[in-house]
């Protein structure tokens, strides 16, 4: 018996939409909502370790202030009283932000990320900071310096990563919604493995100001939720131009919540042939085909699409992302923030600090990136990877001439056991279906769609062209309504 049923639970105060409505009407206090979640966190998080930090006192104080404001007639925001968990690479002023790394342990940012300000303005209550693979580098949270997060569906299995803490928190009902960051699949893959909804928006749709940088041309913040509607309401709250992020798209973000129910009749949906082949386990491929059938039954025209360069995405990504990371992580040198290991000279201090502060996977990627960018190898590795990125963008554009949306697995497999992918290359293969969207900058969503033979959740990925979030989430809502209940969960048994 490995699974210990009972960690998967609906959020104790209902969906984010329900909470905001009840709190906004004054039917339920934000304090009551927050307390219900803090109780649930205290019960199960010692086992799951979804959180690096639970901001219980601050959350209660914010809830009380919101209740007073609503009682005095202040208009309630679209997330009034909604508890939200933040991946611990999103800066919160005065509250430790660690990236699950020893090198930032105890660091308290002097500013809030733009998404944090926008969530607060919408009435959300931040309940804590969630665990991740160190600096978001990984697909299992096993690379956290503070220990892994466990999958609520089976505590012997990983929750996926790198945003595994946020995915597990939502799946276990510790928060109705959460934020993660997605550089190569770090929102969508853990959403799939934990059986929740996870959205990677179009690059530039959500401000990255205050997101600790991993690979700046790929990183994007997005929501986790138990429903597509909740993901949409969070995305509506955080999307839109931000002058503090020069890569932010300078146009307004239209409401997604308003169009979710419009269905898929007449939409053309292509199943990506190259992402359904070798390496995708049969149960997962079966679920994707069933999802395609469900979209067809709802009136979509479904066919087979081809994105030939997608198969080279993994290679391009594991040169581009480490190259950008090697540059971004040069700032951790023991001078301005975080860890310092004392030494006689500044140079020795920097080397000693980085050697003690970074874990193995971060060191591996820094070295891979440094190598890929070094004289003599730049053109052969990094330069070629950038050209492959062009091919992927061209192939997506060609596919979108025939299709409005594309469909694929989110992850080629369901949740695996701890230590099962200790070889780095086998771990990297987990991202093969999610990486192409990061390279192209396009949006994608993972929606739970049934389970495998053992009852572990399977996620189906819906991909859209840039700024196609509305159409994408309409299809996600149709899949959500048609999704079968995972077999073992329905029987109350876990693998």
């Amino acid at each position: 018996m490995s699974g210990a049923a009972g960690y998967v639970a609906a959020p104790p105060a209902g969906s984010a939409r329900d909470i905001a409505e009840a709190v906004g009407r004054g039917d339920r206090s934000a304090r009551d909502v927050v307390d219900a979640h803090l109780v649930r966190i205290a019960e199960v998080d010692p086992e799951l370790h979804a959180f690096n930090l639970v901001a219980a006192d601050a959350a209660r104080a914010e809830a009380d202030a919101l209740d007073r404001a609503i009682a005095s007639g202040t208009a309630a925001g679209p997330l009034a009283g909604v508890p939200i968990a933040l991946k611990d690479n999103i800066c919160t002023r005065g509250v430790a932000t660690t990236c699950s790394s020893r090198i930032l342990e105890g660091w308290r940012p002097p500013y809030d990320a733009t998404v944090v300000e926008r969530l607060r303005a919408a009435g959300a209550i931040i309940v804590g900071k969630t665990n991740l693979d160190e600096f978001a580098m990984g697909s299992s949270t096993e690379n956290s310096a503070f220990g892994p997060t466990r999958n609520p569906h089976d505590v012997e299995r990983v929750p996926g990563g790198s945003s595994g803490g946020s995915a597990a928190a939502v799946a276990a009902g510790l928060a109705p919604v959460a934020l993660g960051s997605d550089t190569g699949g770090s929102i969508r893959q853990p959403a799939a493995l934990c059986g929740v909804v996870g959205v990677k928006p179009t690059y530039g749709r959500v401000s990255r100001y205050g997101l600790v940088a991993f690979a700046s041309s790929l990183d994007q913040i997005g929501p986790f939720a138990t429903t597509v509607a909740d993901a949409a309401v969070v995305l509506d709250a955080i999307a839109g131009h931000d002058p503090l992020d020069s890569t932010s798209i300078p146009e307004p973000a239209p409401s997604l919540s308003a169009v979710l129910d419009e269905g898929v009749a007449g939409l053309r949906v292509g199943v990506v042939a190259e992402l359904m082949g070798e390496g995708v386990v049969p149960d997962v491929a079966d679920r994707v085909r069933a999802a395609a059938d469900a979209l067809a039954a709802a009136g979509a025209e479904v066919g087979e699409a081809s994105v030939p360069a997608a198969v080279f995405g993994l290679t391009a990504y594991y040169l581009i992302a480490p190259a950008e990371a090697s540059s971004n992580l040069a700032r951790y040198d023991g001078v301005r923030y975080g860890l310092r290991v004392d030494a006689a000279t500044t140079g020795e201090m920097m080397t000693a600090t980085r050697t003690a502060g970074f874990g193995a996977e971060v060191k591996r990627r820094i070295m891979l990136g440094t190598y890929a960018l070094s004289a003599g190898y730049y053109d052969a590795y990094y330069g070629k990877a950038l050209k492959v990125r062009t091919l992927i963008i061209r192939d997506f554009a060609a596919a979108y001439e025939h299709y409005d949306l594309l469909l694929s697995p989110t992850s080629p497999n369901t949740a695996f056991t701890f230590g099962a992918k200790s070889d780095p290359m086998s771990m990297y293969m987990n991202d093969v279906c999610t990486i192409p969207s990061n390279l192209s900058g396009d949006p994608a969503v993972s929606v739970p769609f049934g389970g495998d033979e053992a009852g572990l959740p399977v996620g189906v990925q819906v991909l859209a062209p840039a700024l196609g979030e509305a159409t994408m989430l309409r299809a996600a809502a149709v899949l959500e309504a048609a999704a079968p209940t995972p077999k073992a969960s329905a029987e109350g048994v876990r693998a």
Partner: protein, 119 residues
């Protein structure tokens, strides 16, 4: 312990990486670690050399692609310079920032000696 190996005999513009076991040596990894300000034990050098070579071996799949004439993409969509008006806005509080530094003195970050180091 950290012995650098120079990339002699390979021109910076050479587009074809070496194949197989020639791809990455232990000396390469030691050199890269030094560039990245990381110190590796002998055991870590062995482990990382094998793991990084495996990743580069996987990258061999793009070597067969004819990419001549394909422009590189460094960013998902074209970005020109982004300007704003040159107006002073809110800035971080200096004391609040320095409070998070490992060491600060007289309104500045304090570091160990930087003179007299080996280059």
């Amino acid at each position: 312990m950290l012995t650098a190996r120079l990339y002699d005999g390979r021109m910076p513009s050479d587009p074809t990486p070496p194949a197989g076991a020639e791809r990455l040596s232990r000396g390469d990894v030691a050199h890269v670690a030094r560039l990245a300000l990381l110190e590796l034990s002998e055991a870590e050098l062995d482990e990382f050399t094998g793991q990084l070579a495996a990743v580069l071996d996987h990258a061999a799949d793009v070597e067969a692609l004819d990419l001549a004439g394909v422009p590189p993409t460094a960013h998902p969509y074209p970005l020109a310079n982004v300007w704003r008006d040159d107006v002073v806005g809110p800035v971080l509080d200096r004391d609040e920032v320095l409070a998070e530094a490992p060491q600060a003195e007289a309104g500045r970050f304090r570091v160990p000696a930087i003179l007299g180091e080996e280059p």
